[in-house]
């Protein structure tokens, strides 16, 4: 037991499952003996979830794409290609959702979701981004969530999804060979977002000139064209697009060439402003919109001491007493909410969900306003409670809970089910209200829509 102030902050199985995981499955809370150890055990590289191997990687996607010439001037072919992309995207989302429904390492999944949202791309923004969205999370984010932040930043920067989403793929130095032919010009979109969103944060002291210089450093970083694809590397540094000459970012001068980009991004990753900002963002995500200052400071310290070892930071998070405050201060976003509901209701049977059920659940996410890989801006999905507890959204969650409860056989007494899933998190009021529900279905709906279940 950890003592914090006057509150007793205890690392309980229910909080481990509820706050740091994806929600308890029936019986799971009672079986989980060592919550801290259970979480710590997930802070290591994990095998990819089932079904992931079957989905194409970036190079496969480029290889399989029709030639540009085939699509030009053929609206029917373009339409078919677009339909194929959308179909593939839906399947990929279903695989991702299923992985969450059945995950035995839900804390690890949550870390993937957090960092994936931090380096957000939007599959709906441009048709050419959509096919790469799933592989982006799998290949650029997932392998690094307990590794080094700098490695994740570089993997993100070099993946086709990010190169296309924030336009670095089409950026060319004004004095590069391509630029002099005026084929394309400098695009500073990625350079701006990498400083503002991915690393330092707005107001941390960089200037517009730094953005332009970083954009010049990164010219030539692009997607490998199909005709030059030989192995699995979908990235290419194209010297004919690269702005010649030295550039200066945040007072440091870089030579021309690919290595300069790696060095400049690594410097941003290791910058103290990045550590400070992202340590706080991680603490806020798992604990409270305004996180405990000591927790944020502790994570920042670990980040700096370990040169951005995200596994060490995650360990520090779950080891800190402030992370175990009993109050459920955060809203589950719709993806977390639907996932938790499926885990609560279906338990181990979630692996057997049929396609129709999967499609309905994707529809639920659309209704509730959060479809994976479709965050509306490069900032990613909002993480604050107010953003997810709007009037229309709360009504829709309640209605969805009712619809879900009407669809599943209610096997257990919902009040007993609530006690099993939530343990000490279940308030007496909610327990009583569920017990007094006029039907088991309504009792189950009240459990799913209860404040305890909507929050974490």
């Amino acid at each position: 037991m950890i003592k914090g102030g006057t509150q007793v902050m205890q690392a309980t199985p229910e909080l481990a499952l509820h706050r740091f995981g994806l929600g308890a499955r029936p019986g799971e809370r009672a079986r989980l003996g060592d919550p801290a150890g259970w979480l710590a055990g997930q802070i290591a590289r994990q095998r990819d979830p089932d079904g992931y191997d079957a989905l194409p990687r970036a190079a496969d996607i480029i290889r399989a794409a029709p030639d540009r010439g085939e699509l030009r001037g053929d609206a029917m072919a373009r339409r078919d290609f677009a339909a194929e992309i959308r179909d593939g995207a839906r399947k990929a989302v279903a695989v991702r959702m299923r992985a969450a429904f059945v995950s035995d390492t839900p804390f690890h999944e949550r870390l993937v979701w957090f960092w994936s949202n931090h380096f957000s791309i939007n599959a709906g923004s441009k048709l050419r981004v959509a096919p790469f969205a799933f592989d982006y999370e799998r290949s650029a984010i997932r392998p690094h969530v307990t590794g080094r932040f700098a490695d994740m930043l570089l993997a993100s920067a070099r993946h086709p999804a990010m190169l296309l989403f924030l336009d670095n793929a089409t950026s060319a130095g004004p004095n590069s060979r391509a630029g002099r032919r005026r084929e394309q010009g400098l695009n500073e979109n990625y350079a701006r977002e990498v400083m503002e969103l991915h690393t330092l944060g707005a107001g941390s002291g960089y200037t517009q000139a730094d953005i332009v210089e970083l954009a010049k450093i990164l010219t030539g970083w692009t997607v490998r064209p199909k005709e030059y694809l030989d192995g699995d590397d979908a990235f290419v540094f194209a010297p004919n697009r690269h702005e010649p000459g030295a550039k200066t970012v945040l007072g440091r001068t870089y030579d021309e060439g690919e290595q300069a980009g790696i060095d400049a991004l690594t410097a941003l990753a290791r910058h103290p402003a990045t550590a400070k900002r992202l340590a706080r963002k991680l603490a806020a995500h798992f604990t409270a919109d305004a996180p405990d200052d000591r927790l944020a400071a502790r994570l920042e310290g670990v980040w700096r001491d370990t040169d951005g070892d995200l596994g060490a930071v995650a360990k520090a998070l779950v080891a800190h007493q402030a992370a175990w405050a009993p109050a459920l201060a955060k809203a589950r976003d719709p993806i977390q909410f639907v996932t938790a509901a499926v885990r609560a209701v279906a338990g181990e049977r979630a692996s057997g969900l049929d396609d129709a059920a999967q499609l309905r659940l994707l529809g639920a996410l659309r209704l509730l306003g959060q479809v994976p890989f479709m965050a509306p801006t490069p900032q990613g999905w909002p993480d604050d409670t107010a953003a997810w507890f709007g009037p229309d959204q709360v009504v829709e969650r309640v209605e969805w809970a009712l619809a879900l409860a009407g669809r599943v056989p209610v096997q257990a007494d919902p009040a007993a089910m609530a006690a099993d899933l939530l343990g000490s998190l279940l308030s007496a009021e909610t327990h009583t209200a569920i017990a007094r529900a006029p039907s088991p279905q309504e009792g189950l709906a009240m459990l799913i829509a209860s404040p305890e279940f909507m929050r974490r």
């Binding site: 609206a75 509306p376 107010a386 997810w388 709007g390 009504v395 209200a433």
Partner: protein, 406 residues
């Protein structure tokens, strides 16, 4: 952090205790005085409406030849003036024009030459001179108006579109595809949320908007069709949602500002001319606007509807009897508060040499001029504020005088 659905102020405003939800029937929490009694609706025509068909320049000698099979025959267009007509599927727009309630604009464009739907729609909604903004111009206009009640600005969409995202409060609303809970169940939920500072007020407000919508939907069903249709049908049939929006906005305590989204304008294949695919879409839009006007009733006199699209379509047909992404587009201001009966266009012409990049109708009017006309003339937002906060960098695109009734 910018939020998708910004209700901080609403939630922080308290006053809406969850326990205040009286039964039976939902208590009507009194609204604060509205900053405006004027109604303003933005209809976003996503996918790029072909302005050369909706507002055909039948008087331009190059039109029929340029457009070939896709040209609206001069004899079938609903005549507006010597140069322009309306598509024959738009009799409601024509009637509004004849009553002086429609101002049509041609050869308008967003300030950036961009032929990607998503990027152009983003600019259409941020109102900025370049890509990359995070909040929408209509949200910034709400801030300029001092709007504080999320219930008074409604996007009839599953979530807030970019145009309404930002710091000012606004809400999204869709007639839920899900059956609503019984009053008894919702009362139990309200009691369960009574102790929750966020969920309690949110549920109360949400049920209130829903109750308002339910009141309105009977009228909506009569005017616009069946609200109880699936999402796919809804997407292709704007009339029911427009009728519901109008009925809600007609109420003294209802929303003042609304956003509607209409899809299906990306007519790359088999566009049709006086009949066909685009004609059916336009007929539906026409019916939707008539339903909106009818549902608004007397409030129509205080209403401006802005119909905007991200760009126009190519001047010449493509190889699939359709049109591809172009530049100059049409836009409309419609409503009882419009001083219309006019087509406003600095017409660039349709000869090959007059086309933008030898393919598109050349843009001659910045779309922000049209929008600023509505925001200043109708909603009374100070022009300096418009310039500074709502459409920064748009000094070269001034509001137009005399298009809104004084």
């Amino acid at each position: 952090m910018t939020t998708i659905l910004t209700r901080r102020r609403l939630l922080a405003g308290a006053g809406l205790a969850g326990a205040g939800l009286a039964l039976p029937g939902w208590s009507r929490v009194a609204f604060a005085a509205a900053p405006t009694d004027k109604r303003f609706v933005v209809v976003i025509l996503r996918g790029a409406l072909d302005g050369l068909s909706a507002l055909p320049p039948v008087g331009d000698p190059a039109y029929a030849g340029l457009r070939g099979d896709l040209a609206i025959p001069a004899g079938e267009a609903l005549p507006l003036d010597a140069m322009f007509g309306l598509h024959p599927a738009m009799p409601g727009f024509k009637a509004a024009f004849d009553r002086g309630q429609l101002a049509a604009f041609h050869a308008v464009a967003i300030p950036v030459r961009e032929r990607s739907h998503f990027e152009a729609q983003a600019i259409l909604e941020t109102g900025l001179g370049q890509g990359g903004g995070r909040d929408g111009w209509l949200n910034r206009a709400l801030a300029a108006l001092g709007e504080r009640d999320a219930g008074r600005t409604v996007a009839f969409s599953p979530s807030l579109p970019l145009i309404l995202r930002g710091d000012a409060p606004a809400t999204s609303f869709t007639p839920s595809a899900l059956p609503s809970g019984s009053e008894d169940f919702m009362a139990r939920m309200a009691a369960l949320y009574a102790g929750d500072a966020a969920l309690g007020p949110a549920l109360a407000k949400g049920l209130e908007v829903q109750a308002m919508a339910a009141d309105a939907s009977h009228a909506g069903a009569e005017r616009g069709g069946d609200m109880a249709q699936g999402p796919a049908q809804r997407q292709n049939n704007l009339a029911p949602i427009a009728a519901q929006a109008g009925a809600m906005m007609a109420r003294p305590d209802g929303p003042r500002i609304a956003v509607l989204e209409a899809y299906g304008w990306d007519t790359h294949v088999g566009q049709g001319a006086a009949d066909g695919q685009l004609a059916r879409r336009l007929a539906n839009l026409d019916a939707a606007m008539s339903a909106l006007a009818e549902a608004l009733g007397p409030a129509w006199g205080q209403t401006v509807v802005a119909l905007i699209t991200e760009f126009g379509r190519t001047a010449r047909p493509n190889g699939n009897r359709g049109t591809d992404h172009g530049t100059g587009a049409a836009a409309f201001l419609l409503g009882g508060a419009v001083k219309g009966g006019r087509v406003l266009a600095d017409w660039p012409g349709l000869k090959d040499a007059q086309l933008f990049e030898n393919r598109d109708l050349a843009p001659t009017t910045d779309l922000r001029s049209v929008l600023k006309t509505a925001l200043s003339g109708h909603l009374g937002i100070d022009p300096a504020r418009l310039e500074r906060d709502v459409f920064p960098g748009s000094a070269a695109a001034p509001a137009l005088d005399g298009v809104i009734r004084a």
